[in-house]
Structure formats: structure tokens, C-alpha cells
């Protein structure tokens, strides 16, 4: 099966997978009305870290960044895959190592200058610059010669070649899907002359649908429609404002008061909205690319015995936890790769709740008398809440959960140093399934991502084979097998895939669920009906 054909078919399949959750695709049949001001929310913090997308690690910043900046690719929220954005066409070599991109000829930065191949090459080089220490560096690292730049041994990435003003090629060391690397906001294309100005991080200039207008630190950031945006007719709205907050209660009241057009919801608010006849009409449910799990230190006895790890997976009634504690704002995990991953195997069954089987496995492993499982959690529903909920299930099979509550950085520190025995976490497991499964690669250190210290050369080989596969269908098939292998080896307790919930006002149209991050909306496609407050 050819790559494009496969992508189309997998996208169709995924659309079906997502459709129950993206059920509120809103009023697409209506004709969009231009004008008005969008009132959106950046819901993950009380401040923005930076408006320079090459310098920020925070999802919060990238929610806003989407309005001002663009990358070579964009995440197609309906097809659920990366699609070309700034690039008009791409041609791949047979070995899938070299890709030649041609940019649209009508893309302009907000300062009026046309975007060229030089800008792309400069931007990708900037990300690799060790002096910048950009979080996007992992997205450019696979390009040939990027490592030399990152190590300070070269000034420019040798794998980037300009063909003409609008055309350039990117050569990777290994077969690669560039869409998975270059859709992320951290690879936005920026104008060098503006970045050189000291005020760039607070007054960004990009080529996105909205030009930066104002930023009141810790309160809001706004933008005005960019008239020379390269997509004709877009964006629909004249202005956009993001309120910066992380207080879900306040967001709930603001939404109910009609002050914001869309917001993400907490578990508690989700229950109330779901039961409300009016509010429930505006819910978009998104199976996000995150896997919530209890991480296990696979080196620490008795967790170094696969039977013990499997026993933990059999011992807990996840359905009950998801229903009662998480109010169904989650989807039961059947493996590491989430439901909206392109390598998700819909036919695979999750570990059933079987305490007798768990006891038998523990007995086989010499743990019939039980043991104490020390777990570090944050003080949150998905941390302490879940740990408390599973305590009686584990106790039932002889495992005593000993909980330590700490903040996220403390848990991360213990996880990476290998001093934690177990922990609760939501791990990003997409969109690239190879990257997601590399977290179990024996050759990866804890600091590099294998915090479980899972070591299995057989799995490494499976993953390498999948990554190197030239045929997409074969690659996906191998990844499914690798994920099944991980499920069987149970380096973690597989809990759930997060269900992000977006509440949308009846007057906001064009909103869709983004599996890479629910709060990231395609602002250019959003439009307001005639009666929207944003038109007042």
C-alpha cells in the first residue's frame, strides 16, 4: 500500500474512531459569517512563558501561539493527522529520507515580507542552535547534520538545502514522516529580522491568521485579523482574545456567563454540563493522545518480575474507577498507544478485572504474602484520587499501597533518578507512535524517557524494525505488535486515555476536537453567529 493511500484509509478509520467523541462538529453546513471577536481561553497556567514559539516548553503558550504562527504542517483535527500547511506540495524520495517542499507563493509575515525557503531553513537552524536550547530541538534532531549543530560542531544543518526561493529539501538520517515532526508549534516559521529585535518574545511577528495586538501579562493576549493571511477568506473573525487562567471553576462561571466562547472542562464540570439539556449540546469530546498510567520501576523488586506487574493490571477494576472517580472523562486503556494513535489496535482487549488471576500470578512470583508498593502522586484527582481509589483493589490481592504526595517536579525528579517505586502520570503518547513507544527502549536512559527502566532487547528490535519499515502499512502493523508486546510485559499499570472535553457556546461555529491538545483550537476556522456576544 502506498503511503498516501494508506494515510487516507487510516485517516478515514481514525475519523470513525474519533467521531463518537467529536460528535459536536458544529453546524458545518452553515455559511461562515466573517467578523466579530473570539473570546477563548488559555487554560493551563496563570501566565504565558514566552510568545516566541521556539523558546517555550509550555502547552499554555502553544494554545495562543497557534493564532500568530504557522509551521510547515498543521494537525488536521477532522482527519486526525498532520497535513501540509505552509508547504503546498511535498515530494518524498523512495527511501523516505529526503523530502522536497514547495511553499505557497502568497505567504506573508505580519511585517509584510513574503515567507521564503530561506525563512524555513533559518527557523529550523535556529531551533537546533545550542545557545537557544529550544524545546523543538527533538523535532529537528532527525535531520541529517542537525546533531552537529546541536553539538556546536557546525553552524548550519547540512540536511537542509535551498532549491529556489520557494523550494527546499530536507534530508533525514532515517526514513521519517516529516509531518509528525513539523506540525508542532515549536517548529513555527519565523522572520529572522523580527526575531533579532529584543521585543520579539513579547511582541511576536509570525505568518499566522492573526497579527499580535496586545498582551497584558497574566491576564490576556489578543490579536487582529491578518488581511494578507495566505488562506483566502480566513480567518473569519476580526479579532481574537485569549484569557489566561488555570482556574477551572472561574472558567466554568465565565463560560456560563457567556464571556468566553469555548473552554475546557474539569471532571466535575463535565458531569454538570453533560446533565444540562442546553450545555450538553455544546460538548466536544476528544480522545487525547495521552495515556494515564501508574508507572512502575521495573528494576526494583518485586516489580522486576513481569508476573507481579501483570498481577497489578489484573487486580484493579478500572471501569469502576473511570466511572465513579473520573466521571467517565476517560477511556479505558488497552495498551500504551491511545485510541487516536495511528497505530492503535482496536481489536486488542484490555486486562480484565480478575483478582483471582492476580493472586495466582503473585503466588507464582513468590509474593503470595503480598508486598508494599510505595507510590508518589501529586495532589490531584488523577494522582492522589486514583491512588486512593485503587488502594482497596490492591489490598484485596495482598498489595499495600503506601502513598507519598508531592508536587509534579518532585515526582519527576524521583522518577528520573530511579528512586521512585511507582508513580501516577499522564504521558504524551502521540502523535508519532514510534516516539511514544521509545519510552520503553532499553537504550534510552531514564532521563531520556525510559523512566520505567524497562529492558528488553526483543522489544528494541521490534521497534527498530517498525521505525525502519518503508511501507506504512507494514510499519503500523509492526507498531501494533510492539504495543501488544508492551501490554503483555506490563511495565506500567495501564489506566486510561484522557478524554479532553471542550465546551462550546451555541454561537461559536467551526470548533473541532484536537487530539494532540484539546485546548488548541483552529482559530482561523472559528466563526460567530449573528447573535454572538463577540459581535456586540
Amino acid at each position: 500500500m502506498k503511503r498516501r493511500t494508506f494515510l487516507k484509509s487510516s485517516a478515514a478509520g481514525l475519523a470513525l474512531t474519533v467521531s463518537p467523541f467529536a460528535g459536536a462538529l458544529r453546524a458545518m453546513a452553515d455559511t461562515p459569517l466573517p467578523g466579530g471577536t473570539l473570546h477563548l481561553v488559555a487554560p493551563y497556567g496563570t501566565a504565558l512563558t514566552s510568545l516566541d514559539p521556539h523558546k517555550t516548553w509550555e502547552s499554555q503558550d502553544l494554545v495562543v501561539s497557534k493564532a500568530f504562527h504557522r509551521s510547515l504542517y498543521n494537525w488536521d483535527t477532522t482527519g486526525n493527522r498532520p497535513v501540509l500547511d505552509l508547504a503546498e506540495t511535498v515530494e518524498a524520495s523512495d527511501d523516505r529520507k529526503t523530502f522536497t517542499f514547495k511553499l505557497h507563493d502568497n505567504i506573508y509575515f505580519h511585517n509584510g515580507r513574503q515567507v521564503t525557503a530561506d525563512d524555513v531553513i533559518w527557523s529550523l537552524n535556529r531551533i537546533a542552535d545550542p545557545a537557544l536550547n529550544s524545546p523543538g530541538v527533538s523535532n529537528v534532531q532527525p535531520i541529517s547534520g542537525a546533531q552537529a549543530v546541536m553539538d556546536g560542531k557546525a553552524k548550519t544543518i547540512s540536511g537542509l538545502t535551498k532549491v529556489d526561493d520557494l523550494t527546499f529539501s530536507v534530508t533525514f538520517d532515517n526514513p521519517t514522516d516529516p509531518g509528525m515532526l513539523f506540525f508542532d508549534g515549536s517548529t513555527s516559521i519565523l522572520p529572522q529580522e523580527e526575531v533579532a529585535k529584543p521585543e520579539f518574545a513579547s511582541h511576536p511577528v509570525g505568518c499566522g491568521p492573526f497579527a499580535f495586538s496586545e498582551h497584558v501579562e497574566g491576564s490576556y493576549v489578543s490579536g487582529k485579523k491578518f488581511d494578507k493571511y495566505f488562506k483566502p477568506g480566513l480567518p473569519y473573525a476580526d479579532e481574537v482574545t485569549f484569557t489566561i487562567t488555570d482556574d477551572y471553576s472561574a472558567m466554568d462561571v465565565a463560560f456560563r456567563a457567556g464571556e468566553v466562547d469555548a473552554t475546557v472542562l474539569s471532571e466535575d464540570a463535565y458531569v454538570l454540563y453533560r446533565e444540562d439539556p442546553e450545555l450538553s449540546k455544546g460538548l466536544i469530546e476528544v480522545a487525547e493522545l495521552f495515556t494515564r498510567h501508574m508507572g512502575l520501576n521495573n528494576e526494583m523488586p518485586p516489580l522486576n518480575d513481569v508476573r507481579v506487574r501483570q498481577a497489578i493490571n489484573y487486580a484493579i477494576d478500572r471501569d469502576l474507577v473511570i466511572e465513579k472517580l473520573l466521571k467517565d472523562k476517560a477511556i479505558k486503556a488497552t495498551g500504551w498507544l491511545p485510541k487516536t494513535s495511528i497505530a492503535f489496535d482496536a481489536t486488542r482487549q484490555p486486562y480484565p478485572y480478575d483478582p483471582e488471576k492476580a493472586k495466582a500470578l503473585l503466588a507464582e512470583a513468590g509474593q503470595a504474602g503480598g508486598f508494599t508498593l510505595d507510590i508518589m502522586v501529586t495532589d490531584s484527582t488523577s494522582g492522589r484520587g486514583v491512588a486512593e481509589a485503587i488502594t482497596p483493589f490492591l489490598k484485596d490481592v495482598g498489595i499495600t499501597l503506601n502513598m507519598t504526595i508531592a508536587d509534579g517536579a518532585v515526582v519527576a525528579d524521583a522518577r528520573e533518578k530511579g528512586t521512585a517505586m511507582a508513580w501516577m502520570r499522564s504521558a504524551g503518547t502521540g502523535p508519532d507512535p514510534v516516539v511514544a513507544l521509545r519510552m520503553f527502549d532499553s537504550r534510552m536512559s531514564r532521563a531520556a524517557g525510559n523512566v520505567f527502566a524497562f529492558k528488553d532487547p526483543a522489544f528494541d528490535a521490534m521497534l527498530d524494525q517498525a521505525a525502519a519499515a518503508a511501507d506504512d502499512a507494514q510499519r503500523i502493523d509492526l507498531l501494533k505488535k510492539a504495543d501488544a508486546y508492551i501490554q503483555d510485559q506490563a511495565p506500567v499499570w495501564f489506566h486510561n486515555y484522557n478524554k479532553g472535553i471542550l465546551a462550546v457556546q451555541p454561537w461559536l461555529m467551526g470548533a473541532t476536537g484536537n487530539v494532540t491538545e484539546t485546548a488548541v483550537l483552529e482559530v482561523e476556522n472559528l466563526w460567530l453567529t449573528q447573535d454572538a456576544p463577540g459581535r456586540g
Binding site: P135, Q141, G218, A254, F290, A409
Partner: protein, 323 residues
């Protein structure tokens, strides 16, 4: 403008107060700096561990480079010496996360925090002081009981809960005020956060005012003034209010001084772009220079307000001596 008569009479006492306060403030600041630095340095987890949160994976290479770039891998005493050296030159360092000078960030946020603090203490004083006077004047009546019940409620209700209730009532039900945000600095956005931040100080000020007025009313000089035939207006304004105000001023000063630090919850709830909200984020991100900057600012504000209150004592009551 010439200083008030009381200050003219006691120039030595004023300079003594100022000198002593400055010395105390310096010691307090040094101890605070030491505590904050070491607490955030010895607890597990660093900025490099916190970046990206649970949402975004950050490569080990980036984290390692960050540790080196931010000197997180250097010995603690060495880092502290660098920090003190920079601080002595007025350099609060650069925020790890925002990569900008801490001082610039603080100054940007200070305006919003001061607006909120002044509005909140204004609300507390304007409502609380008359309530206290009223309760004292109607001691033992249902008015007194009602005012004190309200005062206890104001002290007992958690700020975030009061804020949410106020939001529901004024923004959602009545639609009089906006829910969250700073707006463009307009007053309508200030009202609810100021009320929420001011409600506990209001209650305390009302209680203190009532107690102070009742205490002063029992003093000999009040009886003397009345026996000399002074009008009730003169007794209240000249003798009672002035003396009672020394006690009330202490409460107001302490409440105002602690408002920057106490605004954390309110600023977070209302998306108010002040120091409190900044501090929350900085702590979560382990952005040590920014945390230190916020804490220093909060302490300096408290110390300045307290010094001003001390000076105000002298202005109000020249009998007070500090030698």
C-alpha cells in the same frame, strides 16, 4: 508641605524609628533570602524537571543543557554567593522560564497588584470602620450582633469560595460585572477581586474598630471631656476617634502590608495579572529567581507599610515614644 506638628516635636524619635526599622528590615530580608534560596534549592525537583509539565515531553538533552545554562549543577554555596553578589547590585537575576530579567517582570505585575491591594483595603476601610463604629455605638443591640456576625462570616469564609459566590451572583445571575480578567484596566473588572480580597480585612477592621471604640469610650479622658461640657461631636472626633484610630491603624497597616502575599488565591481565581498569580506559576515551575523576586517584593512591601504605620502612630499620637 511642612510635617505635622507631632513630627516637628519629635525629630529624634522619627529618625530613630526609621533607623531601627531599616536595620530590622535588612536582617529580615537577608534571612528571607537565605530561607527561600535554600528551601527551593534543597527540595527535590528543579526547573529542568518541571518544564513542559505532564503535557509535553522535553528531551533529556534539553534538560541537561538547561541545568548547565542555569547553573543548577553547581554547588549550592557557590550559587548562593553568586545570587547574593548579584542581589547586592540590584540584579534579581533572570527568570528561568521567561528568560527575562526578574525585575522587569515584577514591575510589570506590580501595577495590577497595587491597584487590587489599594482597592481591597479601601473597600475594607470604607465599609469596615463605619461598621465597627456602628456596632460600638449600638453595643448589645441586634445591630451590634448582626455586624459582628457578618464580621465573623467574613473572616471564616475562604477567599476562593467567597469569590466564586460573588462571581455567580454579580456576574452570572445579575450580569452587573464581568467574571474574570483584567479587561483594559477598567473598574468593572476590579470590583469583584477587590471585594474578595477585602472581605477578610473588612471583617477584622470592623471587629478591631468596635473593640477600640469601646475601649476608648471607657477611658478617663473621655469622661473628663464630657464632664467639661465638650460637645458629643468634639468628644467623638477630637478625643475618641483619634485615640481609637491608633489601634485601627495597626490593623489596617498589617492587613494592607500582607495583601500582596495574600492575593495569591484571589489573583488566580480572577485571572488578575499580579504578583500573587505570578508567584503561583513560578513555584509550580521551580523558577527560583522569579520565586525569590516575588517573595522579596512581598516582604519589602510588608516592611515598608509597617514602617509607614509606625511613623503614622507618631503623627497621630505624639505621646508614643520609640526610644
Amino acid at each position: 508641605m511642612p510635617p505635622p506638628p507631632s513630627l516637628r516635636k519629635e525629630p529624634v524619635a522619627v529618625s530613630s524609628v526609621l533607623g531601627r526599622r531599616l536595620l530590622q528590615s535588612l536582617v529580615t530580608l537577608l534571612v528571607s533570602v537565605l530561607l527561600v534560596f535554600f528551601m527551593f534549592s534543597v527540595i527535590p525537583g528543579s526547573f529542568a524537571d518541571a518544564i513542559g509539565g505532564e503535557k509535553r515531553a522535553v528531551s533529556a538533552e534539553v534538560k541537561e543543557k538547561l541545568r548547565t545554562e542555569l547553573h543548577l549543577d553547581e554547588p549550592l554555596p557557590e550559587r548562593f554567593v553568586h545570587y547574593l553578589s548579584d542581589l547586592s547590585q540590584g540584579d534579581l537575576g533572570k527568570s528561568f522560564a521567561m528568560r527575562r530579567p526578574v525585575l522587569d517582570i515584577l514591575l510589570e505585575r506590580l501595577v495590577a497588584s497595587m491597584r487590587l491591594a489599594v482597592a481591597a483595603i479601601g473597600f475594607a476601610v470604607v465599609v469596615g470602620v463605619p461598621m465597627g463604629f456602628l456596632a460600638a455605638a449600638r453595643k448589645g443591640t441586634w445591630v451590634d450582633a448582626a455586624v459582628m456576625m457578618l464580621a465573623i462570616s467574613g473572616l471564616s469564609i475562604p477567599g476562593f469560595w467567597f469569590g466564586l459566590l460573588a462571581m455567580y451572583l454579580f456576574a452570572l445571575e445579575l450580569r452587573w460585572l464581568p467574571t474574570i480578567g483584567y479587561g483594559h484596566g477598567d473598574l468593572s473588572h476590579l470590583v469583584l477581586p477587590a471585594m474578595t480580597l477585602g472581605i477578610a480585612p473588612l471583617a477584622l477592621i470592623a471587629r478591631t474598630t468596635r473593640a477600640a471604640v469601646l475601649q476608648v469610650l471607657g477611658e478617663d479622658y473621655i469622661r473628663t471631656a464630657r464632664s467639661k461640657g465638650a460637645s458629643e461631636r468634639r468628644v467623638v472626633l477630637r478625643h475618641m476617634a483619634r485615640n481609637a484610630f491608633v489601634l485601627i491603624l495597626t490593623t489596617i497597616g498589617l492587613q494592607f502590608g500582607s495583601m500582596l502575599g495574600g492575593s495569591v488565591i484571589v489573583e488566580n481565581l480572577f485571572s488578575w495579572p499580579g504578583i500573587g498569580a505570578l508567584l503561583t506559576q513560578a513555584v509550580a515551575q521551580r523558577d527560583i529567581p522569579l520565586v525569590q523576586g516575588c517573595v522579596l517584593l512581598i516582604i519589602v512591601f510588608f516592611l515598608v507599610i509597617n514602617t509607614l504605620v509606625d511613623l503614622a502612630y507618631i503623627a497621630i499620637d505624639p505621646r508614643i515614644r520609640y526610644s
